[in-house]
Amino acid sequence: MLLQLNNIFKWVNSGGQRIFLLKDINLTVEEGEFISIMGPSGSGKSTLLYLLGMLDGFDEGEYHFLEEPVHTMKEKHRSNLYKEYIGFVFQSYHLLDELTVWENLEMPLLYKKIGSAERKAKVADMLDRFNIVAKKDLFPPQLSGGQQQLVGVARALISNPKLILADEPTGNLNSKQGEEIMELFKQLNSEGVTIIQVTHSEKNASYASRVINLLDGRMI
């Protein structure tokens, strides 16, 4: 078992009223799964994803990641955990525009305090694997959207995460580029990486082995 959510609630208070963002979420994810989270806008998809990624908290319930209780963890410990095991892919890539492709890929390794030689090897490896060696000295704005997302995925993968969380990874791409990214995910999944993606598209959702539907913060 990779992670488990038990009776998760998340809410905000607005004008004396409690508005639920997530309501009683129970979810178990096994290693090697490929899950799509679907639902209309405002149903809590992204909230759930960030919650899984430990970037956002919750108000009630329990979250176990690799048998460890996330809900009782200190901030620092939690950050070490997601730094180690989780990679993120975003709709709008979130590459750092001031850094080259090479430097963007290197960054997660810097925060993991990995030595220079190993960093170089890993980055070179990743560039090779995604066929973007020629682009290594370019800055993100000089790349096409598809290429940027490719770099985004490469960055998520570089620290060998067990889990990749993707927030509408193809949302800003044309269908061909989108398809390429999804194929890539499929391939990664077959190599053993667990993937959870938020998506609107039925087609993309179909790549997954399991689909979770959300409506008004509830799983249906």
Partner: protein
């Protein structure tokens, strides 16, 4: 990791060119200004610190009780130094010092040198290194020491050591031997001189020998290392009673209250390091460091403006960086690291600015020195503690003004940052406060400048009670009898159209080209009351030449012999005398009767910020005149000045006319 920070910081600087340039420009200018102001302040504080014995050195002054209150005098009578040295315990040495010009006669030419007439012990107490010659200058009464610069000025490149020179003292040429050449005085020396002569050669010396009532020179005291000035002060009262008993009894008989210790005359010491910034207050001479505080304060405020500006711009700018911050957090960056990264970016800007600021300060240094009449140099910075202090200061203000934006950003929630939303609830308060502070300081500066400007304008345009626009004052070189010279000068000038009147006096109005200012004060008893007045020795046409308003009576008349026993007083003096009809009053000075022949309207003979004191004009041909005054017609000022210069050069070959209009003199007093 730091390399990565640096790369990001640098690329951000380049990318946001306008932001970077604006910030660096603003900060550099304020760093430059602050550096200059701080240097000026430190320079003020460094006065006389180069003397090795400075911690034990003091300037002696006496504090005397009067009916009106205590008065201090930095001038001392001839026997004082010896008495202080011999009779007050703990005194290592006491030397007399008289700053008076010395006229050097060299063939056809005369040179007026800035002279210091001192006791031989002067050079053991003060640290004025000898460059060449006898390391103990003034070993003999006929020995003199000259500074390198003055030697070059007078003798050019010729060999000076061992040379015999002629000084004109009391109308006679006397021979002296230059036995020592001094290094030029440091800029931060409060004493200034070109030629050092044994005190006993001064013209006043013979007459003042043993006299306690003629105060005319300064005394410097070096205490033993374990002595305190307070003990010295306590011990001095008895000694003063011994020598000034009569005068003290006289003071007591007038009902003068004693000071807190029950004394009427006592001696006090002003630390040598405070001499440059001395200020007289409540019968004490103390250091007035207001200027230093003001300089530091202004420097600090200017830096605050720039830093607040930087902080606000950084915060405003940081909205663009939110996504980066969010992404870094997502990749596992701890708050501390983010803070350090953002702070490093500020540090880069501040370091560049500080460096540019110093360069800017260096470029403006000469202009700054000219405008502010100081002698600041960047060498003052070149000491380890100064540099460390500067670096520490830059780091500190970087920490404050760069740290705040860095803190806000590094504390931002990850999701919030990723979404690029700036949650400004409540956080704007500090920014708003900072903007208000910034505006307040600016307003303070702007209004301060305006007020100062108006004040100066007011002072410049104020009617001072005399004609300052068309009167030229000329410092006399003093080698001929001054009355004869002025007579000659007048005869040569007066027929020239455009020259209206010529006169002379023994003091200048404002600061002239010779930069010297003096004050003579006398006191006497009139109808049982002690009266003090300034005294000005003048030539006959003084009142007319300066257009001073004569209220009553008449001016001096050169043809009336009795006028040498006559006074002209100003209104304040007339009031102080308490005479209803001053023209009928007779004043007894040393049992000689003096008649008041005229009363003039009060005029500002001292600085404008002083109230007008009583003054008495005397026409006494036995006392010298040091300044000639020439009133010219408003037309063709240049022609008139040229004519005066030509006449001067004919009458005083080899000397230079150093005339200046009185309004220039008055303006110089504002600086």
């Amino acid at each position: 990791m730091f390399k990565n920070y640096f790369i990001i910081a640098w690329r951000n600087l380049i990318r946001n060119k306008t932001f970077s340039v604006l910030n660096i420009l603003g900060l550099s200018v304020s760093f430059g200004v602050a550096v200059l102001l701080c240097l000026a302040a430190l320079f003020e504080l460094s006065y006389d610190s180069f003397h090795e014995n400075v911690d034990d050195m003091y300037q002696l002054y006496s504090s005397e009780q009067f009916v009106k209150g205590p008065e201090v005098s930095l001038s001392n009578p001839e026997p004082m130094a010896q008495v202080v040295k011999n009779e007050i315990p703990g005194v290592h040495d006491a030397v007399r010092y008289l700053d008076d010009s010395a006229l050097l006669v060299k063939g056809e030419n005369n040179f007026t040198l800035d002279g210091a007439w001192v006791d031989p012990g002067f050079f053991s107490m003060f640290t004025f290194p000898v460059a060449e010659g006898n390391p103990q200058p003034l070993a003999e009464k006929s020995h003199v020491a000259i500074t390198k610069a003055a030697a070059k000025n007078v003798f050019g490149d010729a060999k000076v050591l061992g040379k015999t020179i002629q000084l004109l003292i009391d109308g006679e040429q006397k021979s002296f031997e230059i036995t020592s050449i001094l290094e030029d005085l440091p800029e931060n020396s409060s004493l200034g001189f070109e030629l050092v002569i044994n005190f006993e050669n001064h013209v006043e010396y013979e007459n003042s020998l043993g006299q306690w009532n003629q105060k005319y020179h300064e005394v410097y005291v070096q205490l033993e290392p374990n002595m305190s000035p307070a003990t010295f002060h306590k011990n001095s009262a008895e000694v003063m009673k011994k020598y000034l008993g009569d005068s003290i009894e006289n003071t007591i008989s007038q009902g003068t209250p004693p000071d807190a210790d029950g004394n009427y005359v006592s001696l006090r010491l002003l630390p040598m390091s405070d001499r440059e910034s001395m200020m007289v207050k409540d019968g004490l001479v103390t250091a007035n460091h207001n200027m230093v505080y003001l300089l530091f304060g202004v420097a600090f405020l200017i830096l605050i403006i720039a830093c607040v500006n930087f902080t606000n711009m950084s915060i405003a700018k940081s909205v663009q960086r939110l996504k980066e911050i969010g992404m870094r957090k997502t990749l596992g960056a701890p708050k501390k690291q983010l803070f350090v990264q953002l702070w490093c970016e500020s540090l880069i800007i501040f370091l560049i600015s500080a460096l540019l600021g110093i360069i800017l300060g260096r470029i403006c240094l000469d202009t700054f020195n000219t405008i502010f009449r100081t002698q600041v140099s960047l060498d003052q910075f070149a000491s380890i503690p100064m540099l460390l202090g500067f670096v520490f200061f830059v780091l500190l203000i970087t920490f404050l003004s760069g740290g705040y934006p860095a803190m806000i950003m590094s504390r931002m929630g990850t999701i919030q940052a990723l979404k690029g939303k700036w949650d400004s609830n409540g956080k704007n308060r500090l920014r708003n406060a900072l903007i208000v502070v910034q505006f307040c300081i600016s307003i303070l500066f702007i209004s301060g400048t305006l007020i100062l400007w108006q004040q100066t304008n007011y002072m410049k345009n104020k009617d001072l009670g005399f004609n300052k626009d068309f009167v030229i004052s000329v410092p006399l070189s003093g080698n001929a009898s001054s009355y004869e010279f002025i007579e000659l000068f007048r005869n040569e000038l007066i027929n020239q159209p455009g020259i209206l009147s010529v006169s002379g006096a023994d003091d200048n109005l404002g600061y002239g080209e010779d930069g010297s200012i003096s004050k003579s004060v006398m006191g006497f008893d009139h109808k049982g009351k002690n009266v003090k007045t300034n005294v000005l020795t003048v030539d006959a046409d003084y009142v007319k030449t300066l257009d001073i308003n004569l209220l009553e009576g008449r001016s001096f008349d050169a043809t009336r012999a009795a006028d040498s026993l006559a006074f002209i007083v100003n209104e304040s003096m007339a009031k102080d005398l308490g005479e209803e009809r001053p023209l009928e009053a007779t004043i007894m000075l040393d049992s000689t009767p003096f008649k008041i022949i005229g009363v003039v309207e009060d005029y500002h003979f001292e600085e404008l910020n002083k109230s007008i004191e009583p003054i008495t004009l005397i026409m006494n041909p036995t006392w010298g005149l040091y300044y000639a005054y020439v009133k010219v017609a408003p037309r063709n000022l240049t022609n008139s000045y040229d004519f005066i210069e030509k006449t001067w050069n004919r009458l005083q070959p080899g000397t230079e006319l150093r005339g200046s209009f009185l309004n220039e003199n008055v303006d110089s007093t504002f600086r």
